[in-house]
Symmetry: C2
């Protein structure tokens, strides 16, 4: 599950490992629950993950009774479903939240004896020069300083990790687009929705103008950035470091050249999110049926 | 609600403001819903917030029927309850997640015409040289570089904000401890639970030893840091910038000098969390009854 040089030998000192935020521990039959996992699909909200779990079951013909699609572990922080060889799990918003999930879920799969598992994030984002509803597939994530690195402050020392996504998986996801609008490129990943993404509709005086935002968005476009979201940088860095193939697919809900407000109807937004989910299901169909 | 120099004039250009992540908008009667708000109490999880809302209702004798304590807006990202002059709302995990809430909730209260509202975060944390269950009250938050500043990368420029909590509110919270174990001091606020907090039980080889963690924890103690969590830095910075009095109270679930694992029973952890909630209710009782 994890490449040799990144395996954490401290874990062998624990008599039991409590995966606190997931509500799981190694006294449970993790092998029985998770042993056959091949794909982990993650999204921000518990609601979208539950929707995706049902969609997988139906479209991939997994034949699970609806009543059996229930969360595993506690749902206080994340909601985790298992449908056949697929885990669907929510990660909340932002890199700190997805990082906790990545550590604990990866330990669960390691204890379960899983070997080859790919992680795919299905997110929402602001698009750059893309029609809302387009599915963006990320090749590389960049940070707020426009550098392709994830920066950590660990015990007073700064360390950085590269943030490339698996190129083969990205291409396979793109090839699964069928009739869906899709694009492949870089993603800006921020630690703040309102100001680091350059929105003008936050609570406080932003300290920049509409023109500043336009210029910045042009800079991003010229670098090959097609969308902006808040998790892919940490996600790419963790998976690359661990040796886990990672893919990143996201629905675009706005075009950042057009403005800030997400004022589509609930139905339209659902369709945009569903486009990204559908693309991943098209991909999974080629792999697991 | 917001001090003059930080008011966002761009908002006057909007015909309607959609507070997307809260599921609220300015076509709703925000004044009717939120107009009498005096205190906002926030915690990470929806579950603890619901518990706190009921505890407020009972202990402050607000006389609201249990069936009327229901979430306002959508619950996909946050869960928000209003009990009398108090809002109880969840913020998820990490600074990016709480930042989105702070922007949207502050706009909601501004549109509702609120004037004097204090924000209090009731969190969980790792303690430093404190018995688990101690309630830590924060005077100042520091970042992973051990500096008292919140750093943003905005449109390619770095900017920093100070991270002091309201000293009067901190003292009043401390004075409301009654028989609860409590301490007042600085808080380290990280963007990562496993590695930036120096845990040895993450999924990957941490790149530091038990001795490194001990030395770092001693450095923190010597700086007057009493606990470690993941939101207070952004929370303090936002509130100080806006001119909103902010207080930060958190339960300590571990002593970082003793190790990583949170292996208390569910009942013990509930008691620890309840200590922090109880301290805030003691404080609110002196203010609003």
């Amino acid at each position: 599950m994890i490449k040799p040089e990144q395996q954490n030998t401290h874990l062998t000192e624990l008599t039991m490992d409590t995966l606190y935020h997931l509500g799981l521990d190694t006294a449970m039959d993790l092998k029985g629950i998770f042993g056959d996992t091949k794909y982990v699909c993650m999204s921000g909200s518990a609601e979208r993950v539950e929707d995706f779990a049902h969609q997988c079951n139906t479209e991939l013909g997994l034949g699970i009774a609806d009543a059996d699609i229930v969360p595993i572990g506690k749902t206080e922080r994340y909601s985790l479903y298992k449908i056949g060889p697929i885990i669907a799990v929510s990660h909340g918003m932002g890199m700190p939240s997805i990082q906790i999930l990545l550590h604990e879920l990866t330990k669960a799969l390691m204890y379960a004896g899983c070997e080859q598992v790919a992680y795919i994030r299905i997110g929402t984002s602001g698009g750059i020069d893309l029609a809302p509803g387009t599915v963006a597939i990320t090749t590389q994530s960049i940070n707020g300083k426009l550098q392709a690195e994830f920066v950590q402050d660990v015990l007073g020392h700064t360390r950085t990790w590269p943030t490339e996504f698996d190129p083969e998986l990205a291409q396979q996801l793109y090839d699964a687009r069928e009739n869906l609008p899709a694009a492949m490129g870089k993603t800006l990943s921020t630690n703040d929705f309102y100001e680091e993404e350059g929105h003008l509709d936050g609570a406080l005086a932003p300290g920049y103008t509409k023109e500043d935002v336009h210029t910045f968005t042009e800079t991003l476009r010229d670098m090959g950035v097609i969308n902006i979201e808040m998790e892919s940088l940490a996600f790419a860095a963790f998976c690359l470091r661990a040796g886990i193939p990672a893919g990143m697919v996201s629905a675009t809900l706005t075009d950042r050249f057009q403005g800030d407000q997400i004022d589509f109807s609930k139905q339209e937004l659902m369709t945009f999110s569903r486009n990204a989910q559908q693309l991943v299901i098209n991909f999974l169909r080629t792999k697991i049926v």
